[in-house]
Symmetry: C2
Subunit: 234 residues, 2 copies
Amino acid sequence: MLNSEPMDTNLPLATAVRAHYLFAGLPDADFETLARQMAAVQLDKGDILFHSGDPCTHFYFVDTGLIELSLISPTGEKKTLEVVGAGRTFAEAIAFMREHRYPVTAEALQATTLCRIPVTPYVDTLHGNPDASMRLLADISRHLRARVREIENLTIQNARSRLISYLLDHIDDSTGHDEATVRLTMPRHVIASRLSVKPETLSRLLRSLTDEGLISIEDRLIFIHRLSDLRLYD
Amino acid sequence: MLNSEPMDTNLPLATAVRAHYLFAGLPDADFETLARQMAAVQLDKGDILFHSGDPCTHFYFVDTGLIELSLISPTGEKKTLEVVGAGRTFAEAIAFMREHRYPVTAEALQATTLCRIPVTPYVDTLHGNPDASMRLLADISRHLRARVREIENLTIQNARSRLISYLLDHIDDSTGHDEATVRLTMPRHVIASRLSVKPETLSRLLRSLTDEGLISIEDRLIFIHRLSDLRLYD
DNA sequence: GCATCACCTTGACCTGGATCAAGGGCCTGC
DNA sequence: GCAGGCCCTTGATCCAGGTCAAGGTGATGC
């Protein structure tokens, strides 16, 4: 279950947070003050860190594990917005939101270690640190850009194109030739939700790409035979 | 056609920009410097101010008129993201984007007067103005929030619910009782695109709400008979 | 060894919204 | 006045993707 404890600023976790670009620009003194107010949080798979609509006072840094950020309808349907892995922060954009409530739900997809950072002290340090403010501006702008892209995908691409874009965006090993591999790090139903389709549809789409000879699949590993061909459909 | 000229800082346009919250926090001297680099822009209906993908160096303040921000697919399909009216800015979030290209296309829906503001000098003034930085952070966060809402609408609501939300969000005259009116300020096909449906579908949806007695329509004016009833479907 | 459960696939069928086609109302220019 | 454009509505039909139902596979526990 969910469990948190004050953080020792000498722990490796503190060092990892320090290195994150949202904190890298801060003077030591400011960071120390902040760090004393951070806490480590442990989550098991399936634990919910916060629900959409909960009052929000902290944002988070992922040390290990995976956090799924999703929207959930009154009828229980879920849309995965993003999956955040080690070394990244999430929910930092809440700092300046009118309604102080999380707009999304955060759930651990596996056992996860987080660093919880209180927003108010962080915002306070921004006042004296133009550089840090610029970094946060860049960060939030990047999120905004990503959301605009998502809307673009949802409205002017179909499910097949979204899957292809997803594959092309998640290549982990490109041999440099016209082929590549993608390792699926999340359960397929999470990927389906990220792509805004049902798992059945994802399964059928992967099937049809396979049948057309564009990819082949071995468990969680997907081989893209000809990147150039795949991109034609993007 | 598109036409621009350097701006006299004594013009009413400069006063209007000065009053906008992104500038209200700036010291006079900083604003003066900025204002000297601004220019007024006139657009006719249908003029395109910039296309998605164009290099971006300016953002804009709308003095009069309406600007449609949209995404356009290679096959020419258009999705309206937002329509910006008098007194508001747009494209300010480009300031911190990696790729210095507009992510959307901006088109005048009617004759429009804008003030064009160069990004770089604006960002420069932010360094010395923590308050202005905070305002921009709040502004971009609000945009981000709006996009997340849009994704929520697109994925977990259907077209009918989106229309109902739209109506409820655009009430201009609420008598205080359980009824209200909505004036459609844009052509229906633009509203359709904002809702991510085809004009035919919007027409049919309005028809069915009318048939169910929830609303009645008189040209560009929609009467909501019982707000409470309409909200049940939201 | 086998029950259970999570995860995934496959098939048959359904449906919301798109597409295609036609027509009506109302401007604007000649 | 009327020709040519929007802009919008309505009807008929289509289809991408959802829903429902039935397995299959593999991991975990007893």
